[in-house]
């Protein structure tokens, strides 16, 4: 069986993405977990990693050689991001808002611009206690663009293993980057009007990206599940699993304890979900 790469995402923060990613990873053999929520990577609070490897991620920012610069201003006028300004015939660089497009260096008619490295973030690795191969991406505070860190993180995917990617909540570029070349997306939601509203957005995104996807309802309750179930039935989206609302689960979460450690029966459930997804995708491949 070929390895599976799936991304766990949600339109809204706080629905249980990390809960699902971590507990599922702990339920599977031969698994790698990539935490792509690089602004606030939270899996670490459940996996207690001893980081053994760190890789800085760089981006390029311009440096101006003022001796060669003729103050023609082409670079300032070109920059879409206002990262360059010209004051008293001197070109100033504001690297925090530079998008590293390389345009100014190319457009300078006298080759007065070179590009230098600037640290954007870092990737950290750990073989965790629970036998999960774990990579975490972190974006430095003050940096705007998560995408290059997530791209670098995805390169760490070990295709000899099954891979779970924990994405940033929402539906903007960093989330898209985390899911765009995955085999499958798990959308995590909660049975409230908030959960439904954000599930609709996430589902629309998955349709646009044409990635097969299913739903896990977290904090499920008999009285409220219909909010999500009705929508899923209408759209033909599978509900893979329901994790019930239990105060005990909430307490374990708050202490950074994955609930499958206390309730190992749940490992079988997560395993079934994973195998179901793999089976479903294999079927599709055979029929194509």
């Amino acid at each position: 069986m070929s390895s599976l790469k799936l991304t766990v995402l949600s339109g809204k923060g706080g629905t249980g993405k990390t809960t699902v990613s971590v507990n599922m990873a702990l339920s599977l053999p031969n698994i790698q977990l990539l935490d792509a929520d690089v602004e606030e990577p939270n899996s670490q609070y459940f996996l207690h990693p001893n980081f053994d490897n760190e890789e800085k991620i760089y981006r390029k920012v311009p440096e101006i050689n003022q001796d060669i610069c003729t103050a023609c201003r082409k670079c300032v006028d070109f920059c879409e991001y206002n990262a360059l300004a010209m004051m008293l015939d001197e070109v100033l660089v504001f690297p925090e808002i530079c998008h590293s497009c390389g345009g100014c260096e190319k457009i300078c008619p006298v080759d007065a611009i070179t590009e230098v490295d600037r640290v954007l973030g870092v990737l950290k690795h750990a073989n965790t206690d629970y036998d999960v191969d774990f990579w975490q991406g972190e974006l430095n505070i003050g940096e705007e663009s998560s995408v290059p860190v997530i791209e670098a993180l995805k390169e760490k995917a070990d295709r000899q293993k099954d891979v779970i990617i924990d994405a940033q909540p929402g539906t903007t570029c960093p989330t898209i980057e985390a899911v765009v070349d995955s085999d499958y997306g798990i959308l995590v939601t909660e049975p409230t009007p908030f959960g439904l509203s954000d599930l609709k957005i996430a589902s629309e995104l998955m349709d646009e990206l044409q990635i097969p996807h299913g739903v896990i309802i977290n904090r499920a309750e008999e009285d409220s599940d219909y909010i999500i179930e009705d929508f899923c039935e209408e759209k033909g989206i599978d509900i893979l699993l329901k994790i019930p609302f239990k105060r005990e689960f909430a307490h374990l979460y708050s202490d950074g304890i994955p609930f499958v450690i206390e309730y190992p029966d749940w490992k079988d459930k997560f395993k079934s979900v994973f195998n179901e997804i793999r089976g479903g995708l294999n079927e599709e491949n055979y029929s194509n």
């Binding site: 629905t15 497009c101 345009g103 539906t171 309750e221 307490h251």
Partner: protein, 290 residues
Amino acid sequence: MKKITVISGKGGTGKTTVVANLAYLAQDLVLADCDVDAPNLHLLLNPEVNNSSIFKSNKLAIKDQEKCTNCGVCYDVCRFNAVDPVNYEIDEYKCEGCGVCVAMCPEDALSLKLLDTGEIYNSTTRFGPMVHANLKIGSDNSGKLVSEVREKAVETAEEQDKDLLLIDGSPGIGCPVISSITGVDLVLFVTEPSKSGFSDLKRVAQVIQHFNIPALAVINKYDINEKISREIEEYLKEEDIELVGKISYSSDVVDSLRNAQLIVEQEQDNKVSKEIEGIWTKIQNRISQN
């Protein structure tokens, strides 16, 4: 007019629920939902949209196929992997509108186009005007749309002579959250007693600390983990952030949420209503002090 932004760092701590319930207690104010990526406030406040406007900010490279000779220069120069190496088509999600391919194309086949990035709504709720927005799927959230929502809300508050502007802030620690708090008088953190919640609270507090805006905090669902709650209280004291209340984790709140209702509006006397009323009183005291 006083402006308060409610933020959380981490999503799901109860920020929007707190904002909606405070709106009920305030009764007459202007509201802004700056969580433009996944707006939720409208689900509790049912605003009636009066007018809307299209928001444009992101740019995209557009190709004139007739001029294109498939030379591949655009692919060579693109830093964002937005050009397909085979058919040289532009990926609208990856393109950042930097203009390098436009400048480098030998055939002048490319240009930058300003895109519809979202929509801003001017609406009315039963507590007063509300400004909110939707960011189009896949759009880059630079914080600009958040700025616009906030600025429109300030304008509305001034025009209609309202005393209070309450802003449901963006989650996270980046530009959008900074745009949510620019120029406000008070920041209210809503946090939850979990390791990840506490960590995200520290991160967002660090990001906004140099703005020198007075800050208050609420610990929501505090009884899920009283040990971590106490650790958060210690931290708040150290950082000079006033704790204005703790809200219990109760099924009453869950019931209200499911039905998109406000807990403070419910008939029966309940613990959480009282807790939120206490929070509102403390906020009002702090506003009048400043």
